[in-house]
């Protein structure tokens, strides 16, 4: 695989941006709240370094296996980051909010079905079957991610659960990047990979630029502190507890009639 100066520049920029983000996560102690997100960033650094080394010193076969193993890990970690963001938003008391369990199932099922349907429709032109798998796999992953992040936003709004500042920023970054990525991967499917890879490479550079912008956004937002919580007056706390107790006991009376 021949790499141009621009490819090397993107490679170096990606590595540098991830290192800066990792520095922010560690020095601002964000890794305690976002361990999976931190693992995702570390894996990206390791992935870049590993692929770069294999590219220079390894064989085509070793690059192939390294690339695929790390891509699988990347997808798993991305889905884990989605889980982490959902967990931080929809488990305010350590358990999943009971009013959201059914919507979650629907959201995941609908996201997978839509992404699978669209992926099935795509018929990218490629010389090797492996290239088709890469294009379709990337499109499926981007579509799922964008749906899950937008779905998360909708559920948070509908249920009335606040998005904590940094969760919101990470999710927004991922969401915007995923939507852009859907368009780029659709472009990959449309143009395919022929003998001339110029369009494919240009779209890949566009995707990398979008991702770098997203990492820069995370660096700035995670460096900043969330707004300070306010102190709840003792009288208000007592009344909130009383309010909830009576509301809960009121609800018991109508729950028994849910069966009709």
């Amino acid at each position: 695989m021949h790499l141009t100066g621009l490819d090397h520049l993107f490679w170096a920029a990606g590595l540098g941006a991830h290192l800066i983000l990792l520095f922010v996560l560690l020095t601002r102690r964000r890794f305690r709240v976002f361990p999976i997100f931190t693992a995702f960033i570390i894996s990206n650094i390791g992935r870049t370094a590993a692929l770069f080394s294999v590219q220079f010193y390894g064989t085509k076969t070793s690059y192939f296996y390294t690339y695929w193993s790390l891509t699988v890990l990347d997808v798993v970690l991305q889905l884990s980051v989605v889980y982490e963001m959902y967990s931080l938003t929809f488990r305010p008391l350590g358990v999943w909010a009971r009013d959201l369990r059914r919507p979650f199932v629907w959201l995941v099922a609908l996201s997978i079905a839509l992404a699978a349907g669209l992926t099935w429709l795509a018929t990218p032109h490629a010389r090797l079957w492996m290239q088709v798998v890469v294009i379709k796999g990337s499109f499926f992953s981007a579509t799922c991610m964008s749906e899950l992040f937008v779905g998360m936003l909708v559920l948070a709004v509908r249920s009335g659960l606040p998005w904590k500042t940094h969760v919101a920023r990470i999710s927004q970054g991922f969401g915007v990047y995923s939507i852009i990525d859907v368009l780029i991967e659709a472009g990959h499917s449309y143009f395919g990979v022929g003998r001339n890879t110029q369009t494919y490479t240009m779209l890949s550079h566009l995707r990398m630029s979008a991702y770098l912008a997203c990492v820069a956004y995370w660096v700035i937002m995670l460096w900043r502190n969330a707004p300070e919580p306010r102190k709840l007056p003792e009288s208000l706390r007592g009344q909130l507890i009383r309010l909830q107790n009576v509301v809960d006991s009121d609800l018991e009376r109508i729950r028994v009639r849910k069966s009709w």
């Binding site: 008391l93 909010a97 936003l153 249920s159 009288s235 909830q244 009639r257």
Partner: protein, 187 residues
């Protein structure tokens, strides 16, 4: 040459991306509004309901303390009367809107007073449940089942809404919060 399946693919992707962007923009606007809202902003969103009618429906089966009435004069309203007193579909919409405000109240507490997370989350769940019951009432009304299927249920749900709003008022009253008069008007 682009095949027809690819054209369908591109159209489907364009629709999906547009829908996602519209939904995300709308939801972000709502999040931003909710985050910037203060107590006064919350109150402005409350829809005025006929408190007298709601109370009449509720107090037909419960007393002011929320206990079930078992005397001879209890549960005398018929379904048609209940529906009329609630104000029909418009009345139910007002109840739904006010449940949404109660959810926002919980949102506000969770956002700014994380130490009160537990109680605010319970309050949110309760408000969500009342909202769900009201939604079912609306659904049954639309399918014409209100009268036959659950007159008692309708009354219970209205009674629960009534009690919950009484408790919210009490919360403000005891908390010595300034906007009690506005809240009383709206609820």
């Amino acid at each position: 040459m682009v095949n027809s399946r690819m054209v369908v693919f591109l159209i489907a992707v364009a629709i999906l991306v547009t829908v996602l962007m519209v939904i995300a923009a709308y939801s972000l606007r709502r999040v931003r509004r909710s985050s910037q809202r203060d107590w006064e902003g919350l109150l402005k969103r409350l829809t005025a309901v006929d408190r007298g009618s709601i109370a009449e429906v509720a107090l037909d089966i419960i007393d002011e303390s929320g206990q079930q009435r078992r005397d001879e004069t209890s549960a005398t309203l018929d379904p048609a009367e209940i529906w009329k007193l609630v104000g029909g579909l418009e009345g139910l919409e007002a109840l739904e809107a006010n449940c949404a405000v109660l959810i926002d109240l919980a949102f506000y507490v969770q956002q700014w007073y994380p130490e009160a997370l537990a109680v605010a989350e319970q309050l949110r769940l309760s408000a969500r449940e009342i909202e769900w019951h009201v939604e079912r009432l609306r659904g049954a009304q639309k399918t014409g089942k209100l009268e036959s299927a659950f007159p008692m249920y309708a009354q219970r749900a209205v009674a629960t809404y009534y009690l919950m709003t009484r408790r919210v008022l009490a919360l403000y009253e005891r908390g010595n919060l300034a906007m009690l008069a506005d809240l009383e008007k709206a609820l």
